[in-house]
Symmetry: C2
Subunit: 230 residues, 2 copies
DNA sequence: TATGATTATATGTGTATACATAAAAGTCAA
DNA sequence: TTGACTTTTATGTATACACATATAATCATA
């Protein structure tokens, strides 16, 4: 009974050599063909294992030069940013939200710039998200009505703008940033904290093939932690 | 002249159908064999394209059931956390660092718990990182000497603990968290900000096959943003 | 009717093979 | 010596094929 060599087992073996220091950062490791012979499998299998390690940032591959163990590898982690309801429920809380503002308005210059749009009037939505009745996150959002016309008539009391957009309006790309900021008086009162208190801020803009869909700021009170595996 | 169908072009095509809404979330898409016929390529090629989309979280695949477009997809992004020197230089600053503390000490309970070690005495290193002479980040680090014995004699004035560890001590896994906190008097003075000012805090612990190597807190002053593409 | 065994099916994966492509190294003539 | 070719080589990728494996659906049996 022959147990075949899998790309997983090859990957694990290669990973072990990197972790043990047998192959140190910057070193050129043997070529695919050579490794295939060593492991007794096909080059395809070795290729897949190496490709995965390259995707993970542990090795760098270039034609002709070969494969090297990444020198000074950046720590990298994949962050999942779930919809707020799932996030709250995942922490064991009961989710609710309140729409504090829902109107067409002229966007300030900073928002218009982020959305890169000439539209004068945008949909402005402010939402407070609650966990077990307590403030969990406050969201200020602008939606480009050209990109999501149905937003004007959606019932955002029944389904949060966050969840509605994820389901109804696909996006092709976007960007996100994380920072810390001090609570303004208004945001502080909504989140039931003090003016000047540190807040965790996520800013996010999504686009569809160049056309901006929505941009928003999400304010989390102190104590919120975003955690991930390396 | 026949131009072959690549897994990239197949991926782009499938992505287009998802983005256009032709295949909406929750829908079962045609099987690999069927798509292979449609595209006029082998099942292997379709498989690779679908596998990539699954890695990216856009579709979910299960044997027998088939492939479905992910309902309520989480936004997800891969964050790169480079070594501090690269981060500073990447922003166009001149990097420098000062070791403020370098001693063996008894770790407080919270640190011992994070490292999950029974070692009584750990290496305690506090480092201030500078960009163009101005405070950029303050780092409080604990190192398990059992995991990195050479740390006791390393010249951390010449090379920051951050960079030294990345080069010298491989790790197999770890975790990282992001949050906001208020500056204590001590940290505020180091970062030249005010007590109570909002700080961006990254906490990180790395391990090697279960043995803790190092745990640290990195404090960034207000204004620091961690940005990424969705 | 409930339950356990069987079958069909979609994805998962390894192999051998062929050709494409990028880039380093070598060749050769002006 | 330089610059324009050619060769070599390592990775990149498509294909046809075979078998593995999970699981939904179906069928047989108590």
């Amino acid at each position: 009974m022959k147990t075949p060599i899998t790309h997983q087992s090859v990957r694990t073996n290669l990973l072990g050599r990197i972790h043990s220091g047998e192959w140190s950062p910057g070193i050129v490791i043997p070529g695919e063909a050579e490794l295939a012979i060593e492991f007794g499998c096909s080059r395809t299998t070795v290729n897949r294992a190496l490709r995965q390690l390259a995707d993970e940032g542990l090795v760098e591959r270039r034609r002709k030069r070969g494969t090297i163990v990444t020198p000074l590898p950046s720590a990298r982690t994949t962050l999942e940013i779930p919809i707020v309801r799932k996030e709250v429920e995942g922490r064991g809380g009961a989710y609710a939200h309140h729409i504090l503002l829902n109107e067409m308005a002229t966007a300030p210059a900073s928002v218009a710039a982020r959305l890169n749009t000439t539209a004068k009037s945008l949909l402005h939505l402010n939402t407070l998200h609650l966990s077990d009745g307590k403030p969990f996150m406050y969201e200020e959002r602008w939606i480009n009505p050209a990109a999501a016309p149905a937003a004007a008539t959606a019932d955002f009391e029944a389904i949060s703008p966050n969840e509605w957009l994820v389901q109804e309006v696909p996006y092709s790309d976007g960007d996100i940033s994380f920072s810390a900021c001090a609570a303004t008086a208004k945001v502080a009162s909504l989140l039931e904290t003090d003016e000047g208190a540190p807040l965790f801020l996520i800013e996010r803009t999504t686009r569809m093939y160049g056309d901006a869909i929505t941009t928003l700021k999400m304010y989390y009170p102190e104590g919120f932690r975003m955690t991930s595996k390396l």
